[in-house]
């Protein structure tokens, strides 16, 4: 049977990808960021997952205002790298896992989560920056990736509670997949940041650290945070943190926090990162 081993949460700041792609990762500014992922890269390499289910948001790359799915699950064999205006990032193509992806789609839809099935989707920095942070710059990604793309641009995004419950439904789907697969779930985005308007540059380390403190042991207190509070306290783009709750919902109630990292800033954003292992 497929088994969900662990969850990884991380910010997905585009400038991190640019720093890596342009050979700037050795600069002190970026070393401060990449340093927080040294343990994580070793940890993931040792864990050797077959599949990563990667929760992220598209930034007007694959989807525009023409079609705005709240939850879109990538069921394709491969996902091309999006051209976000400077040409596609020079990273390996992303290989999907259609068998597991379709199984998850069917299972969660019958569990009353009406997600959108996507067979053609370019993936942008929201998906590739977490892969780069966790894997470095390999010739090929060392596992298959199932993208789960969440709308957090058009208000309202799904609630934290809905995300958490979707995570639980995804877990049920993984547990019922009849082939031995080692699975890890990534929840990406955040932490506090605001990219728009006169309040741009907003960072709330106190909010972020409280969120990190409660994520492993007390997620029930996080899933009811209303959108208003995210926007006011974590910045208009800090609302991306609802995506972390999908990963949390999929994990066991009891988890072991094996790594934590937090730094300000990467470009405009507070970078937060956790690794949680299932204990069963």
């Amino acid at each position: 049977m497929a088994k969900l081993l662990a969850g990884v949460t991380t910010s997905h700041v585009p400038a991190i990808g640019a720093a890596l792609d342009n050979g700037k990762s050795g600069e002190p500014y970026w070393q401060r960021v990449f340093g927080g992922y040294e343990f994580s890269k070793k940890w993931l390499a040792e864990l050797k997952p077959d599949v990563v289910l990667l929760v992220y948001n598209d930034h007007a790359s694959a989807f525009s205002l023409e079609i705005i799915p709240t939850f879109a699950l990538g069921c394709a064999q491969t996902f091309p790298i999006a051209d976000e205006g400077w040409g596609p990032r020079p990273v390996p193509p992303v290989e999907g896992h259609p068998d597991l992806a379709w199984h998850i789609a069917q299972s969660v839809i019958l569990d009353e989560f009406d997600l959108t099935i996507v067979n053609k989707m370019a993936v942008d920095h929201g998906l590739t920056v977490p892969l780069s942070l966790m894997c470095g710059q390999p010739k090929a990604w060392p596992f298959k990736v199932i993208p789960l793309c969440v709308n957090v641009i058009q208000y309202p995004p799904p609630t934290g509670h809905r995300c958490f419950m979707l995570g639980k439904a995804i877990r049920k789907a993984i547990d019922s997949f009849p082939r031995d697969l080692r699975v890890v779930i990534f929840g990406t985005g955040g932490m506090s940041h605001q990219l728009q308007g006169p309040r741009a540059g907003f960072i709330n380390s106190k909010f972020d650290n409280a969120f990190l403190d409660r994520f492993a042991k007390d997620p029930q207190t996080l899933i009811r945070i209303p959108h208003l509070e995210y926007i006011r306290e974590a910045g208009s783009e800090g609302i991306e943190l609802v995506m972390w709750l999908i990963a949390r919902g999929a994990l066991d109630d009891e988890v072991r926090e094996v790594h934590r990292f937090y730094t300000v800033p990467a470009s405009n954003t507070a970078v937060g990162h956790l690794i949680l292992e299932n204990t069963r």
Binding site: A60, G85, Q194, Q196, G197, P198, A200, G201, V264, S267
Partner: protein, 133 residues
């Protein structure tokens, strides 16, 4: 309709249904700049490109685009993930745009971020911005 509580957050345009509808063509114009051929055509003659391909962009939005009034675009229904594509066409990063939208120099803005960013204190409600004088 009663005003949404998030309208009280200063310096912030929450991209809700109203703004999305208002900004549809402005944002879709920005989306068109994902293609290199469109970026070239726009740069060659900005007014012609807008008139030919995006006649439904409003007069105010057109002016804000041509004058690169980044905050004005947001007020007129623009969304930062879309307007940033116009920024990219001009060679501007998210951080470059943030400096412009906050009325800072690049150096000032980068220094503020390195020092921990814009504090939540004094930046939670419009009343706080009014009182700061």
């Amino acid at each position: 309709m009663a005003e949404e509580a998030y309208e009280d957050i200063p310096g912030t345009q929450v991209f809700d249904a109203r703004r999305s509808r208002k900004g549809y063509w402005l944002n879709m114009f920005c989306m068109s700049l994902m293609k290199d051929e469109n970026r070239k055509a726009f740069k060659a003659n900005e007014e012609k490109y807008l008139d030919e391909h995006f006649p439904l962009v409003s007069v105010e939005q057109r002016e804000a685009i041509l004058k690169r009034q980044w905050n004005r675009m947001l007020e007129l229904g623009g969304n930062i993930y879309y307007t940033s594509k116009l920024g990219a066409t001009d060679g501007l990063s998210f951080q470059n745009l943030a400096a412009l939208m906050t009325g800072s120099t690049q150096e000032q803005y980068a220094a503020m971020m390195l020092a921990g960013g814009r504090s939540p204190d004094g930046n939670r409600s419009k009343a706080e911005w009014k009182n700061r004088g």
